[in-house]
């Protein structure tokens, strides 16, 4: 597939991004050829993200499938003026992934009430991100201005799909402290990105 959802530095991004929007609109009009092109363009990036968040291939496959079917059904709700097509798709994917994590967490808790065994992955790579593209460079620069604990909490929440409580447990830090790291971090991030 020639179109890539991933935004490498050398990609002529504006055209590609606008084409994804076009494919979503054509899907909204019921065009399956457009949707299959959308699948080819977007599915690998979304699948990578699903795997990163869920860390289980079977769950990631379920979630990707649900997310794409949801994208087809809800394509009519997409509005170009609200944002890029890929951000729209990312929201759908992440929502499905988070739902899945929350559901599995509840299911694990209910039968026995035992503590949930922690997943092996402490996400070391979350802290040495490489993000390409102009928007990526800006976000990176702003993340670098946060305190290390704030940055780490935000990235772990994003990539591991953790709630405040789960994050607090994972890094053995009081809930209030974790919440405050995230709030302050997000505030500073927004301020920095808007300059």
């Amino acid at each position: 597939m020639i179109l890539r959802f991933h935004s490498g530095e050398s990609d002529p991004l504006p055209e590609l991004v606008s084409e994804l929007e076009f494919l979503i609109e054509a899907s909204a009009a019921g065009n399956r050829a457009a949707f299959s092109a959308l699948y080819d363009a977007a599915a690998p990036q979304l699948f990578g993200l699903a795997l990163r968040i869920l860390k289980r291939r079977d769950w990631a496959e379920d979630v990707l499938q649900e997310a794409l079917i949801s994208a087809w059904r809800n394509a009519g709700e997409y509005r170009r003026e609200l944002g890029s097509g890929k951000a729209w798709l990312t929201v759908i994917l992440r929502n499905r992934a988070l739902d899945r994590l929350r559901r599995e967490a509840t299911a694990r808790l209910e039968p026995s009430g035992d503590a949930v065994p922690e997943v092996e992955d402490p996400s070391p790579s979350a802290l040495d991100l490489t993000i390409s593209g102009e928007a990526g460079r800006r976000l990176m620069a702003c993340l670098e201005q946060l305190e290390e604990v704030q940055k780490r909490a935000i990235l772990m929440a994003y990539f591991d799909g953790l709630t405040h409580e789960e994050l607090a447990a994972r890094i053995a830090t009081p809930l209030g402290t974790v919440k405050s790291w995230i709030r302050r971090g997000l505030q500073r991030l927004k301020g920095c990105l808007e300059i």
């Binding site: 690998p44 990036q45 079917i69 729209w88």
Partner: protein, 239 residues
């Protein structure tokens, strides 16, 4: 980037915006998340603010390496969107009508062609488009776009070559009137050319466009003579 300056008005605006960010980040637990989503369904401004935060954090999603999903998953997804929707039936009735009108409805050989239109720029301000495809689900697609001023059209055919001595020809099928040619297409090429006022006026939302296989250079009679390969409906781009 979406302007968010007016989306966090009034007292507590900053708090509210951070709540929105927490929702997008995904840190709200069960009940909080559900409550937020209920609000989201009712509040257009909230949806805007969520979109703005999603856009801010999108580079994080971009930083993850893409992984090819299993091929079977593609089939499963496409199969699940394929089944007998109203829109689909409408499409097939157009195909039947075309088959009846033009005699034969041929299906080109199965191909997997990367969609040419995907990496070509659109006309700057697009009025609308049609995507024409075959009655069977294949990767071939013909795209017709017309610019806002309705003076220029862009044609893209992501399809196998029409074959020696043959060309694809694009037609407007105005309801109740005879087909009007929009000229020939070349497989794999992007063609940009003017469209005259008479033809532009015929292209309206819901108008059917079709591609037939014709002798090289196009039909000499001014009416389609070969099999109809691709059909699609014109849509306005928009809000």
């Amino acid at each position: 980037m979406t302007d968010t300056s007016n989306m966090t008005p009034g007292p507590g605006g900053e708090d509210r915006d951070i709540r929105i960010a927490e929702y997008v980040l995904g840190t709200l637990a069960g009940d909080e998340r559900i409550a937020f989503e209920a609000e989201l369904a009712r509040d257009e401004n909230l949806r805007r603010a969520v979109a703005a935060w999603s856009e801010r954090l999108q580079p994080l999603a971009d930083s993850v390496a893409p992984v090819a999903p299993p091929l079977a998953l593609r089939d499963a997804v496409l199969a699940r969107i394929g089944g007998g929707t109203e829109r689909e039936e409408q499409h097939f009735s157009i195909v039947r009508w075309l088959a009846w009108t033009f005699g034969a409805s041929a299906v080109a050989a199965a191909i997997a062609v990367a969609a040419v239109f995907l990496f070509t720029p659109q006309p700057t301000a697009l009025s609308g488009y049609a995507m024409l495809h075959e009655p069977t689900a294949s990767a071939s697609v013909v795209v017709f776009q017309i610019n806002k001023q309705r003076q220029k059209m862009v044609l893209l055919a992501s399809a196998p070559s029409a074959g020696t001595g043959q060309d694809y020809e694009l037609w407007i099928l105005p309801s109740g009137k005879t087909p009007v040619s929009l000229g020939v297409l070349k497989a794999g090429e992007r063609i940009e050319r003017p469209i005259d006022d008479m033809r532009a006026a015929l292209v309206q939302p819901g108008t059917t466009l079709a591609v037939s296989l014709e002798p090289a250079g196009g039909s000499v009679s001014g009416a389609p003579t070969g099999p109809v390969l691709f059909t699609g409906t014109f849509h306005m781009v928009g809000n």
